[in-house]
Symmetry: C2
Subunit: 292 residues, 2 copies
């Protein structure tokens, strides 16, 4: 499978799993942000993790799609006026600009319930106990101990709430806000492929480092990129005095840290025999875009 094959497969399945039903405004709002063209990195990496450990990617499709739905939910709520107040997402008006704040809030809520339901309903080849294991991972990384914890600390950092240890806080928020979804994606892919505990540890380590790299690249791109390239408002981090890798360590140090993390990812792949052009391409692409 090439990257484009994966993206096409995921887009088809997302479209199939989320049909417009009554009340139409709700489903249209849920689907609007979900179907904006994106790189689909999280579901791709879920399917690819399943594949490198010898699993059948068909079995991982509902989980991969659920993770993309969850990601989409975080974008909808993040863009709300009471949060980051962003008018654009992937080059288009953000959800609440199209559907209003109330429907956008409810569409996010609905995706939070819809996503794990997809895992329960459509994972026909997974036994109930594997499904429960996957859901346990999902809830752990998605909720108050995962992505949402990261978002809260991100908001606190933006609002200049007194931060005692900035390095530790930045690390915490990057791990939870960004790495957690990559860890969730690759761990569940591996679990569906029945990977060993040791393999699971390696892919988790890889995912954690990749997630950190991805977030540092995002911090760098917020500084050096343009609206046309990113499809969202840029330079806001600096403007709002947000705690980012660039604001804390400077642009050059951020690039250096990013290069180091991406090298560590490549090392893990070689040592653990992760035979994946997809992972390699994704890593190279991040490296190129961030100009390192």
């Amino acid at each position: 499978m090439t990257m484009n094959n994966y993206i096409e497969l995921i887009n088809d399945k997302l479209d199939e799993f989320l049909q417009i039903e009554y009340p139409h405004a709700l489903f249209k709002s849920m689907k609007y942000t979900l179907m904006l063209p994106g790189k689909r990195l999280r579901p791709v990496m879920c399917l690819e993790a399943c594949k490198i450990f010898g699993g059948d990617i068909e079995d991982a499709i509902p989980t991969a799609c659920a993770i993309e739905m969850l990601h989409s939910q975080t974008l909808i709520h993040d863009d709300l006026p009471c949060m980051d107040n962003d008018d654009f997402r992937r080059g288009k008006p953000s959800n609440h600009k199209v559907f209003g704040e109330a429907i956008a809030t409810l569409a996010g809520d609905a995706l939070l319930t819809y996503a794990p339901h997809i895992i329960v309903k459509f994972s026909q080849n997974l036994s109930p106990s594997v499904k429960i294991r996957i859901l346990n991972e999902y809830f752990k990384y998605a909720g108050a101990y995962g992505v949402i914890a990261g978002q809260v600390v991100d908001i606190e950092s933006e609002r200049n709430i007194k931060i005692e240890n900035k390095e530790e806080t930045l690390n915490y928020l990057h791990i939870h806000k960004t790495s957690d979804l990559f860890q969730l994606a690759m761990r569940t892919g591996a679990i569906i492929a029945d990977a060993s505990e040791e393999q699971l540890e390696c892919i988790t380590d890889f995912a954690k480092k990749f997630g950190l790299a991805f977030q540092i690249a995002d911090d760098i791109l917020d500084e050096i990129s343009t609206f046309e390239e990113m499809g969202k408002t840029l330079g806001k981090d600096k403007q709002e005095g947000k705690l980012t890798y660039v604001s804390l360590y400077g642009l050059e140090n951020a690039k250096c840290k990013l290069a180091c993390l991406l090298d560590q990812c490549r090392d893990i792949m070689v040592k653990q025999n992760f035979n994946s052009n997809i992972f390699n391409d994704i890593i190279d692409n991040i490296s190129k875009r961030a100009g390192i």
Copy 2:
């Protein structure tokens, strides 16, 4: 078990299942609305449904608590300025008045993930396949086909979006906004008690009618009650031209419909041999408060 025993048990378990962890603002916000003194009707009715079909209520406690967490989430997001914009809930400032809109939004999101995780983590005596069955019910009634669908139609009705068939729309929004959580509570209680399909149908019918009655009583109380009695801003339905049973049929007809539904609930109990003082007391209490 008396009503007070049940409430005490549920409060203790909610307190135990949701400890304050880092980031503290998030967990405090999640717990604030959850622990406001309430009647705990949904979890009580879940446990009682389990009991009348011969189940062990211990087995249903995580599910009952999850449903209360979900209910609490709907209150937090409902009160937000972009939704109903309510400053009070159960006599106290609403969540966003205490924690701010961003944290209140994220606390609601976190509860949406935390609640089903409680079912997965703490239902030790349920087999994986029963857990999956419970989660399937949970996601069906909680999400875009259930409670959230009801909230969307409620908002559309408030905003005077053209409604073609008001009676049908009102019925739809009452069933989803209110009945669905009662159906979820009693159905899952019954499933945990291993009730037959026939028993499940009867308790679903009972829950649906009870939920409708509960919502009509709420519409009536919004018209005739006081802030001190209800702990929330009243008279808003009328002020905002909201579609309610009272606005559509008038106060007397609403009372008549409520009396009829409560009688139907009592009939089901007699016919099906639901031996439950708790259900009887709850029904009588609603009847009394609504002045019928």
